[in-house]
């Protein structure tokens, strides 16, 4: 077996080339092969940051334990907003990507305009629009058309935050998907079609399973970006981790401890996500 480095940034993308590889699979799985496939020393970094948090909390419960207790509902909000938005992003991104690859001109045009617009406006501005501007627009429409439900519409901050994040990130993810789908050789689609599969069957069974492996690293990257950018929702009245940190600081005025703790919590979450992505990548890697 060739020696591979366990560095996540040097991961070989060897699934693209089914012809030239010829490493025989051993009859039984060697411990070495198992380690190469599943053991990932960078979990140590996650453990180190987690240990640091625990140490701070144990050795100086005041203020660190207080911050943690104060902000724990914020952590939960950050996670749930991020995960909900990400699930929506994965689905909508795929639809947009297929639209961008479509030969139907209108579909292609609409999706392209969407991607360009969503990428071209800062996320913070988009979030402000969704939370402050959109409800006002709905209210004026309600007033003009005399629809009570619209006239009295009040924005739900979490809903608007999720919508805002989804709208922006789906555009990015769709471009990743598109590149992934286009990276699969045309012959794959032709072979599938020549067997009598229709477009959607070919996508479902042939193209997407291969594209998923290609797009996993950039999609994981976008998940981590999203997790961090979710801190922006703190400006639109969502009580996420960042906002809770600000509130704690305002009440106690110990900025160093507060922001160290908040930063460490974000860091442990992003490092953990990174390892999970890496683990999925290893599990789904094609065996050659």
């Amino acid at each position: 077996m060739p020696i591979k480095f366990d560095l996540w940034w040097s991961k070989p993308m060897n699934m693209q080339d089914p012809i030239k590889t010829s490493v025989k699979e051993p009859a039984f799985v060697l411990p070495n092969a198992w380690r190469e496939r599943y053991f990932d020393p960078w979990w140590g970094l996650v453990a180190a940051v987690a240990t640091l948090i625990v140490l701070l909390v144990v050795t100086r419960p005041n203020p660190f334990l207080r911050i943690l207790v104060y902000a724990r509902d914020g952590i939960w909000v950050t996670i749930s907003v991020t995960v909900t938005a990400f699930l929506l992003i994965l689905i909508i991104g795929l639809i947009v990507a297929l639209g961008r690859l479509s030969r139907i001109k209108i579909l292609y045009g609409v999706m392209t305009i969407y991607v360009e617009v969503a990428r071209g406006i800062p996320l913070l501005v988009q979030l402000l629009f969704w939370y402050f501007a959109l409800p006002t627009v709905i209210q004026s429409i309600g007033a003009a058309l005399n629809i009570a439900a619209f006239r009295n519409y009040l924005a739900n901050p979490v809903l608007m935050a999720v919508l805002g994040l989804t709208f922006c990130y789906a555009a990015y993810i769709s471009e990743v998907y598109r590149a992934g789908i286009q990276s699969i050789s045309k012959g794959q689609m032709e072979a599938a079609r020549s067997l009598g599969m229709n477009y959607f069957q070919s996508m479902r069974y042939i193209i997407l399973p291969q594209a998923v492996r290609v797009v996993l690293p950039p999609v994981g990257n976008d998940f981590i970006s999203l997790l961090k950018d979710s801190s922006l929702v703190s400006v639109v009245a969502v009580a996420d981790l960042t906002r809770r940190g600000r509130e704690f600081m305002a009440a106690n005025f110990i900025p160093v401890e507060t922001w160290v703790m908040v930063a460490l919590i974000y860091l442990v979450m992003t490092l953990f996500s990174g390892r999970v992505v890496n683990w999925i990548e290893r599990k789904t890697r094609l065996e050659h």
Binding site: P18, S22, G187, Q188, R193, S194, G196, Y205, I206, Q210
Partner: protein, 243 residues
């Protein structure tokens, strides 16, 4: 008897390139036709028009009484017409058996058990039952191409199209693929083969066709076409291919 493939005055342009310029060809049931010709002569394009991987611009193709211009039945036609590619195009994320089973399950709606039985049977037929659970990346070129043939056969096609099936293979692997093709010929399969394997053409083909610049230049039984061609163009091409 009606021909199983009826091609009439087919034209195809890629931008400015006139790839097919009015090709007409009939293939009878059980017939084996070998198409030769220089690269860019339109032989692959013609083959790909038969299962409409390329949409032709003008003319008519009827496959097993189904005209190809109406879109609704195109998947039905494709399921009846097996295709083998120069680059194999196996699905790298599926095992050999998985490759052979997938379309049976998705298109033919066979049960897993049925598909697996047929799949293993076909892998035995092409001589690599022991590789059923290997991924394409673990197989040699010749083995991959044989899996590709088995994959096409699993749909019970009435016609098999071969697009330079041995051109991407190392010399020592060509024969194992040709052997499988010869076996198909003995089974009475209708085949259209784009290939410069003269040995195969002599041994198996009822007709050999020389294409050049989007037209059929000459067609004759291979023994006659290869040894005693009528046209200068054919002679010139053969002298290059046969050394």
């Amino acid at each position: 008897m009606k021909p199983i493939i009826h091609i009439e005055n087919v034209h195809k342009c890629f931008g400015n390139v006139h790839a097919l310029r009015g090709v007409s060809l009939d293939v009878e049931r059980g017939e084996v036709v070998v198409i030769i010709g220089p690269s860019g002569s339109g032989k692959s394009t013609l083959l790909r028009c038969i299962n409409r991987l390329e949409v032709f611009d003008e003319g008519m193709i009827v496959v097993d009484d189904i005209p190809l211009d109406s879109a609704e039945n195109i998947n039905a036609v494709r399921a009846e017409v097996g295709m083998v590619f120069q680059q194999f195009n196996l699905f790298p994320h599926l095992t050999a058996l998985g490759n052979v089973m997938l379309a049976q399950r998705v298109v033919r709606k066979r049960t897993r058990q049925e598909a697996e039985e047929i799949g293993l049977d076909l892998l035995r037929k092409v001589g690599i039952p022991e590789k059923a659970h290997c991924y394409p990346g673990q197989l040699s070129g010749g083995q991959q191409q044989r899996v590709a043939i088995a994959r096409a056969l699993a749909m019970n096609p009435k016609i098999m199209l071969f697009d330079e099936p041995t051109s991407a293979l190392d010399p020592e692997m060509i024969q194992e693929v040709l052997d499988v093709m010869l076996q198909l010929v003995r089974d009475g399969m209708t085949m259209v083969v784009v290939s410069h394997e003269m040995g195969f053409a002599r041994a198996a083909a009822n007709r050999a066709i020389l294409m050049d610049e989007g037209l059929i230049v000459e067609e004759a039984p291979p023994q006659i076409l290869f040894t005693n061609p009528k046209y200068e163009r054919t002679k010139a091409f053969l002298s290059k291919v046969l050394h």
